[in-house]
Each structure stands twice: as structure tokens, then as C-alpha cells.
């Protein structure tokens, strides 16, 4: 189960809406081992594409250095789908390589409702999990 506070949830949705029709991406970092998404970090989609996302390689290195220095890890890795459902694509599964992360998918295909779903992706196996949004 992913437990996430309302403000972070809303910030992810707002980022996805802002970058639509391109895919938006980012992470929510938290203290290592805590499983608590605490620090919202929107990232640039270097691919600037409606069908693909990619963290810029220099940004990725900076991000991991920062996480390492703060003893944090990426608790949530999120991205949006802008024309399809909020479910990991084959490409998403092949790239997924943080076994401890919650992979959050947001779909902005409908203008009035935003799907927000969370998955574990380990060794190519996708498992959906409940999302609990809490008021902090």
C-alpha cells in the first residue's frame, strides 16, 4: 500500500496536468527505509514526448547524489500517461529498476478526472497496490 499526503498527491496531479500532452515525471524522496514519501521532486522529461519519458542523465546523477547525501531514497517514482490508462506499459516494466519504489501512474486522458494508481514492479512483475491519501 502507498500512503501519501494530500499535498504531495495534488502536486503530482498538477505536474501531470501542466505538462499534458507530454508525459510528466518525477520522484518523491523519503528517508531511506522509511517507505514515507516526504519530498516532492518534479523532474524534466528530457524526451518531451506524449509517449515516452526519461530523466535527463545529468539531472539523474545530481538527483542520486542529493538523495545519497541526505540518506534518502526514491520512495515514489511517478509519471503520466496522457492518452492511455494509468497502468505500466511494457516499456515502463522493462525500465523499472527500483524494487523498493512505488511506481505511480497518473492518467490525464480525461480532462475532468485524473486516474492515480500505484504499482510495485519487481523482476518484470507488476502488482497494483491500494493508495491511501491522508490529510497531513
Amino acid at each position: 500500500m502507498l500512503t501519501i499526503d494530500r499535498a504531495t498527491h495534488d502536486a503530482i496531479v498538477a505536474h501531470a496536468r501542466r505538462d499534458h500532452p507530454d508525459e510528466a515525471c518525477g520522484v518523491v524522496a523519503g528517508p531511506a527505509g522509511s517507505d514515507r514519501p516526504a519530498r516532492f521532486i518534479p523532474m524534466l522529461n528530457a524526451a518531451r514526448s506524449p509517449t515516452f519519458y526519461e530523466f535527463d542523465s545529468a539531472d539523474l546523477l545530481q538527483l542520486y547524489k542529493e538523495l545519497d547525501a541526505n540518506d534518502e531514497e526514491p520512495v515514489v517514482i511517478y509519471h503520466s500517461h496522457t492518452a492511455t490508462e494509468a497502468y505500466p506499459s511494457r516499456t515502463d516494466i522493462s525500465y523499472a529498476s527500483e524494487p523498493n519504489a512505488h511506481y505511480v501512474l497518473v492518467s490525464t486522458r480525461e480532462t475532468d478526472v485524473t486516474e492515480f494508481r500505484s504499482f510495485r514492479i519487481v523482476d518484470g512483475v507488476v502488482t497494483e497496490e491500494p493508495v491511501e491519501v491522508v490529510d497531513s
Binding site: 515516452f52 531514497e73 517514482i77 516499456t91
Partner: protein
């Protein structure tokens, strides 16, 4: 010659959980061969069957992405720092 190599979480199963290991080699390709000798299986996660760097990983030498410095032919020297990170990407 010793080169420090930072290993991402997903590959630490090959390094007994170590976050960083040491290796040697004049090029990135040679370093990866050396690492694989001590941590069998690591090479297969970094290099494809056709011998090129896997698109699922980013490798940096002294903070430079090796895709811009000659990929596996990137020259290394004593004291260089190598970082391996999984690419964060998808569709």
C-alpha cells in the same frame, strides 16, 4: 590501479550489498571485465549480448555520462570515480 565504482541498489545483489566496489582497467570495458571477475553476473546487467552498453543503465566517469565520452572505450586512470545508475524512463 584502483577505481571506485558506485553500485545502484538493484545491482547490489552482485556485490554482497556493497554500495561501492573497487576495480581496475584502462577502459570502461576492461573495468567491467575486472568487476565481473570479482562479482560474477554484473557484466551481463551492464552490457548487452552484442557488446554495447545497456540502455537501461547510465554510467558516469567523474560525473560525465560515458555516452558522450566514447561509451565502453572511455579511458580510465587511477583515482577515477565511476557511478552506475539505472535509467529512469518509460513510455
Amino acid at each position: 590501479m584502483a577505481i571506485e565504482v558506485k553500485i545502484p541498489t538493484i545491482l547490489r545483489t552482485y556485490t554482497n550489498g556493497e554500495k561501492a566496489v573497487e576495480g581496475k582497467g584502462d577502459t570502461l570495458a576492461a573495468l567491467i571485465d575486472d568487476l565481473d571477475a570479482n562479482h560474477p553476473g554484473l557484466k551481463g546487467r551492464l552490457i548487452t549480448d552484442d557488446g554495447s552498453l545497456h540502455r537501461f543503465v547510465n554510467v558516469y566517469v567523474n560525473d560525465e555520462d560515458v555516452r558522450f565520452t566514447g561509451s565502453l572505450d572511455t579511458a580510465l586512470k587511477d583515482g577515477d570515480a565511476v557511478t552506475v545508475l539505472p535509467a529512469v524512463a518509460g513510455g
